[in-house]
C-alpha cells in the first residue's frame, strides 16, 4: 500500500515594528532584561485597553499581498480564550473568522518531491505547477515567555512579559504540501519573501520565525481522518526531519492497521525524532487547546474597514518579489534556473548582480559570465566594479579564433530559434541573450566585440 503525505504548515513571524501590537512598549525583546519592556496593556492590568498598531496591520497586508492573497475589506480582531501563565489577560487577541488576508498562494519551483511520494493528483497543483495555497494570513499578539529554572534550589517557573503583545503574523497553508523537500522549499521561500519585504528578521534562533507542521498520510488522496501537529520546529532542517520521521512513523502504524492518534508532538533534536508532548505544562496546554477557545469579537477594538484605495496604496509599496525577480533574471539575462535561484536568494546578491551587469555592459562583459562568476566564485568582491575588473583581466586571454567562434554561434542559433526570430522581429534584447549563450559555451572567454560582429553577420545573412 502506498500512502501520500498530506502536509499543511503554519508559519508564525514576529514583525519588527518599533512598538508592540497594542501598546507603546518596544517590540524588540530579544536578550532584554526580563519584564523591563512592559506596561499596563501588555501585562493585562485591570482597566488597560489595547490600541492596534497601524504599521503592524499594514505590514500584515503587505505580506498577504506578496502571497497573492485577497485582503478582506472588513476585518476584525477576536479574543481567543485559554488560561496559561504567559497569557496575562486570559485571552489572546487574534483573528478568527475575518482575518486580514485570505486565499493566496506561493509557487514552488519543483514538484519532483511530491511526485516521488504520491500517486495522486493534488488540488492546487492541477496545472502542473506546484502551487501551495495560502488559507489565511492573520495578525495576533505574541504571548509572554515561561522560563523553567531553579532558584535557591527550588524548581520554579518564571514569566517574562517582554514578548507579551509583540505583533505576530500567522500564515496558514492548505494541506497542499506532499513531502519534506517541498515543505522546506516553502518555508525558505516565505523566509526570503518576508525578509525582502523588510517586515521581520525571520530569525529562527531568536524565535522571530516559528514553524509548525500538520502531517497525515492519505491512501486515496482524500483528507485523512486524523492529523498530527508537530510544534516548535526552529530550523528548516528540523522541519524536514520531523516530516520524514512522521511519515515513516505514521506509515508503520497504518500498515499495522492502526490510525495514528490525533495529537500534538514536539521535536527532539537529541533523539532526532518527534515525541508526544507529555511534560506537565504542555499536557495542560494541549488539554486547554482541546477545549474550545470561545472566540468572540474583541469589543475593545472597532472593526477594521479597508477601502480599495487603501489596499492599492499598500500594494504599491510591494518591492519586486523573489519570484518576479527570478522570472525577470531568467528572461532578460538568459540564466539557468539554478543560477537564478542562487542570485536571487537575497536582495543584496540580486542587487550586486544587476549592478555588475550594468558595469559589465561598458566592457562588453555578458551577464552570463558575471552570473557564473558569482555562483562559482570562491573569492568575495567588495563591490560590483571589482568583480567586473577581475573578470575582465581573467578573460583577457580571449578566444578570437573566428572558426571556433562561428561554431559556437551556429550551435547557439540552432538551439535558440526563438531568440533568432525575436531578433528578426526587431527585439534588441535577443542579441544580448544570444551573446550570453555563446559566452557560456566559451566559458566567458569569447572576444565580446568579435562575437558581436560575427553574430550580427550571421544573423543578417540568414535574414
Amino acid at each position: 500500500m502506498t500512502y501520500s503525505p498530506v502536509i499543511g504548515l503554519e508559519v508564525h513571524v514576529e514583525l519588527k515594528t518599533l512598538s508592540k501590537m497594542f501598546c507603546g512598549c518596544p517590540a524588540d525583546h530579544f536578550g532584554k532584561k526580563p519584564n523591563t519592556q512592559t506596561c499596563p496593556v501588555c501585562l493585562g492590568l485591570p482597566g488597560a485597553l489595547p490600541v492596534p498598531n497601524k504599521k503592524a496591520i499594514d505590514w500584515t497586508l503587505l505580506i498577504g499581498l506578496a502571497l497573492d492573497c485577497q485582503v478582506n475589506h472588513h476585518s476584525k480582531f477576536d479574543r481567543k480564550h485559554y488560561f496559561y501563565p504567559d497569557l496575562p489577560k486570559g485571552y489572546q487577541i487574534s483573528q478568527y473568522d475575518e482575518p486580514l488576508c485570505v486565499n493566496g498562494h506561493l509557487t514552488l519551483s519543483t514538484s519532483e518531491e511530491s511526485k516521488a511520494t504520491s500517486e495522486v493528483t493534488h488540488s492546487g497543483s492541477s496545472d502542473g505547477e506546484n502551487r501551495v495555497r495560502i488559507n489565511r494570513v492573520h495578525l495576533e499578539e505574541d504571548t509572554g515567555k515561561l522560563i523553567h529554572a531553579e532558584v535557591d534550589g527550588e524548581k520554579v517557573s518564571l514569566v517574562d512579559f517582554n514578548r507579551s503583545g509583540v505583533p505576530l503574523v500567522e500564515i496558514v497553508t492548505e494541506a497542499d504540501i506532499h513531502g519534506s523537500a517541498a515543505a522546506k522549499e516553502f518555508v525558505k521561500k516565505i523566509h526570503q519573501l518576508i525578509r525582502d519585504l523588510g517586515v521581520s528578521d525571520c530569525d529562527m534562533e531568536k524565535g522571530s520565525m516559528r514553524l509548525e507542521a500538520n502531517i497525515s498520510l492519505s491512501k486515496d488522496g482524500t483528507l485523512p481522518p486524523y492529523k498530527v501537529e508537530v510544534k516548535n520546529l526552529n530550523s528548516f532542517r528540523f522541519l524536514g526531519r520531523a516530516i520524514d520521521y512522521e511519515i515513516a512513523r505514521q506509515k508503520e502504524l497504518l500498515t499495522r492497521g492502526q490510525t495514528p492518534p490525533q495529537e500534538t508532538r514536539g521535536w527532539s533534536e537529541a533523539k532526532n525524532q518527534t515525541f508526544a508532548q507529555r511534560s506537565k505544562e504542555v499536557a495542560q496546554r494541549s488539554k486547554e487547546e482541546a477545549q474550545d477557545y470561545r472566540y468572540f469579537p474583541e469589543p475593545d477594538i472597532p472593526p477594521l474597514v479597508f477601502s480599495k484605495e487603501q489596499i492599492d496604496a499598500i500594494r504599491a509599496k510591494l518591492p519586486e518579489l523573489p519570484q518576479m525577480k527570478a522570472a525577470r533574471f531568467a528572461k532578460a539575462y538568459g540564466l539557468k534556473p539554478s543560477v537564478v535561484t542562487i542570485l536571487t536568494k537575497t536582495q543584496a546578491s540580486a542587487a550586486f548582480f544587476e549592478a555588475a551587469v550594468k558595469e559589465g555592459q561598458k566592457v562588453s562583459l555578458p551577464p552570463t559570465v558575471i552570473a557564473n562568476a558569482m555562483v562559482n566564485q570562491r573569492q568575495a568582491f567588495k563591490n560590483p566594479e571589482d568583480l567586473v575588473r577581475h573578470l575582465q583581466t581573467q578573460t583577457q586571454e580571449k578566444v578570437s579564433d573566428k572558426i571556433t567562434l562561428r561554431q559556437f554561434i551556429d550551435q547557439v542559433i540552432t538551439a535558440h530559434t526563438q531568440a533568432v526570430s525575436d531578433f528578426k522581429a526587431q527585439k534588441p534584447q535577443a542579441i544580448g541573450f544570444l551573446i550570453g549563450q555563446i559566452q557560456r559555451l566559451s566559458h566567458g572567454k569569447a572576444d565580446g566585440k568579435l562575437v558581436h560582429q560575427l553574430l550580427l553577420e550571421r544573423l543578417e545573412s540568414s535574414r
Binding site: P40, L43, G44, L45, P46, G47, A48, L49, P50, V51, P52, R79, H81, F83, P85, P88, K89, G90, Y91, V159, D292, R294, Y295, F296, P299, D300, I301, P302
Partner: protein, 466 residues
C-alpha cells in the same frame, strides 16, 4: 448653608470669590462622611491626603486657573487611582494599589479636582443594588431601609448625602441612571465612546460608559466637558470633538419634539405614570412638543443585554488569576461566578450562534429602531426605573434583579446612546427619577432640555434627612 451642600457650580464660584477655601470645602465633606457614612457606607476608601491637597490648592489659587481646583469629587471604585486602593468592590482586588491612573481621574486631577475617596458599588459593577458589594451594601440616604440602586450606588448616595460636591460613576446599562434616580440626584450617561474607558475595570466593554453624578444638570455638563473626549489609550473612544456643553440661556430657547414611547410607560404604575405626565406638562409649558410613539419593547433588550454582558464579563474577568496581582479566584463572589459561568456557556462552540451572535443581531435591530425614532424626534422620554427604590434584600435570590430593574435603560445602553436621569418627584418619601435619551453624541441637546426641566422644578433641591 454648609459648604458640603454646595453644587459644583456654586462651589467653584465660592472658591473663586474667596468666600471659602478648598480646605474648608474638603473638610466640610469629610466631616459629613465622618458623621454619616457609618450609616450609609457610600465609601470604601478615603483619600488621607485630601486636606493636604486642599491646602496646596488654596496656595496655588492665585496663579492657577484650573477649572476644578480644590473641588472634592468622589470616584466609583472601578476607576484606577494611583494613590488609592482600587477594588471594584471585589475581594479579588482587596488591597490592590494601581500602577497607573485612569484617564477620567487623570483628567479630573489635571483640572485641579481632589479625589476625596473611592465609592462603593456592586462587586465588579455586577448589579443594580450596591447590595452585592463584597464589602457590604450602601444604604439609601433617603431611607436606610431601602437600596440606593446600583451599580454606582456609592457615588449617588455620596452625592445625595452631600459627602462630596460631585461624583463619577460608570454605566454599562443603568448603573449611573438607576441609582441616580433612586437617590434623587442627577446622573448623566454620555454616549458610548464619549468618555474614555482606559483605567476603568471593565465590565461589559461594548457598553461601559463613564459619566458624572451630581446635584444638578449644569454640574453634570461641566464635568462631562472635562472628562470627555478622544483618548489615544482607548480605541473605542470617539474622535468627535466634545461640543461646548456649558449651558447658556441662548440654547435654552430651542423648541424640541420629544417622543413618549408607550412601551416604556406600560412598565410603570399609576403613581409613577402620573409623575411622568407631570414632568411632560413642565416640558409642554416650555413650548416643547411631546408625542406618543412606539419602540421595540424594552423586554427584548433584557435578553440582548444579558447575553452580551455575561459573555464579555466572562472574558474580562479571566485576567484575575491571582498570578500577577490580586487575590486568587476563590475570592470571586457568587454573582461574579454566576456571570462567568453563563458567559462562558454562551460563548462556547455550538452555542455562540444561538446566543451571542443572535443577541448582536437583535442589538442591531434595537439600534435601527432608535435611529428611526430619532428621525421623528429630537429626544425620547425615558425614566430610568419603573418606580422608586426597592427594599434592602430585594436583590437577594434574584439572579436577574439588575436586568429587571434596568429594563428601561437597557435599550439605550445596548444602542450606545446618551441619557440622563434627574429628580422628578417622590413616591412615599422616596425619589423618583425622570429622564431622556438622545441620539449618539447629542449630549448637548439632552443636557440642555434636562437643564430647562430643572430650572422649572425644585425636585433636585430637596435633601434627605440623614
Amino acid at each position: 448653608m454648609s459648604l458640603n451642600k454646595l453644587t459644583l457650580t456654586q462651589a467653584i464660584k465660592n472658591l473663586q470669590a474667596k468666600k471659602c477655601s478648598a480646605f474648608e470645602l474638603v473638610k466640610a465633606c469629610l466631616d459629613q462622611i465622618n458623621r454619616y457614612d457609618s450609616k450609609i457606607h457610600a465609601f470604601l476608601e478615603l483619600n488621607q491626603d485630601a486636606l493636604k491637597e486642599a491646602k496646596l490648592a488654596d496656595n496655588q489659587r492665585r496663579d492657577n486657573s484650573s477649572p476644578l481646583l480644590g473641588i472634592p469629587i468622589a470616584i466609583k471604585d472601578n476607576f484606577l487611582t494611583q494613590n488609592l486602593p482600587t477594588t471594584a468592590a471585589s475581594k479579588v482586588l482587596e488591597g490592590y494599589l494601581p500602577q497607573y491612573e485612569s484617564t477620567v481621574t487623570r483628567k479630573l486631577k489635571e483640572a485641579g479636582a481632589i479625589i476625596i475617596g473611592k465609592t462603593n458599588m456592586d462587586a465588579w459593577a455586577h448589579g443594580s443594588s450596591t447590595e452585592s458589594s463584597d464589602f457590604g451594601p450602601t444604604l439609601n440616604p433617603w431611607n436606610t431601609q431601602f437600596l440606593p440602586g446600583g451599580s454606582s450606588g456609592g457615588s449617588t448616595a455620596a452625592v445625595a448625602a452631600d459627602m462630596c460636591i460631585a461624583a463619577i460613576g460608570s454605566e454599562t446599562a443603568g448603573s449611573i441612571r438607576l441609582p441616580a434616580a433612586w437617590c434623587g440626584v442627577t446622573g448623566f450617561k454620555p454616549t458610548y465612546g464619549r468618555v474614555s474607558r482606559y483605567g476603568v475595570i471593565a465590565m461589559a466593554s461594548s457598553t461601559d460608559s463613564p459619566g458624572p453624578i451630581a446635584k444638578t444638570v449644569e454640574d453634570c455638563a461641566f464635568l462631562t466637558q472635562i472628562i470627555g473626549g478622544f483618548d489615544p489609550y482607548d480605541a473605542t473612544s470617539s474622535s468627535n470633538p466634545v461640543p461646548l456643553l456649558t449651558l447658556s440661556k441662548a440654547k435654552v430657547k430651542t423648541k424640541l419634539k420629544i417622543g413618549l414611547p408607550k412601551e416604556y410607560l406600560e412598565a410603570m404604575n399609576q403613581e409613577t405614570k402620573a409623575l411622568v405626565h407631570e414632568a411632560i406638562k413642565v416640558l409642554q409649558n416650555q413650548g416643547h412638543v411631546i408625542e406618543p410613539t412606539s419602540l421595540i419593547s424594552p423586554k427584548y433588550a433584557i435578553g440582548v443585554y444579558t447575553i452580551v454582558q455575561r459573555s464579555e464579563v466572562s472574558s474580562n474577568l479571566s485576567r484575575y488569576d491571582g498570578i500577577r496581582y490580586g487575590q486568587d479566584r476563590t475570592k470571586f463572589g457568587e454573582e461574579a461566578i454566576r456571570r462567568i459561568m453563563l458567559g462562558t456557556f454562551a460563548l462556547s462552540s455550538g452555542y455562540y450562534d444561538q446566543y451571542y451572535s443572535k443577541a448582536q443581531k437583535v442589538r442591531t435591530l434595537i439600534i435601527e429602531d432608535f435611529n428611526q425614532a430619532f428621525k421623528k424626534f429630537d429626544l425620547i422620554i425615558n425614566p430610568p426605573s419603573p418606580g422608586p427604590a426597592l427594599k434592602i434584600g430585594a436583590s437577594k435570590n434574584e439572579p436577574l434583579f439588575g436586568e429587571m430593574q434596568d429594563m428601561l435603560v437597557e435599550p439605550s445602553s445596548v444602542a450606545g446612546l446618551t441619557g440622563v436621569s434627574l429628580p422628578g418627584g417622590f413616591v412615599d418619601g422616596l425619589p423618583f427619577g425622570f429622564g431622556f435619551v438622545g441620539p449618539q453624541f447629542s449630549e448637548d441637546k439632552v443636557l440642555n432640555i434636562a437643564h430647562q426641566y430643572q430650572q422649572a422644578t425644585d425636585w433636585h433641591l430637596r435633601k434627605p434627612q440623614l
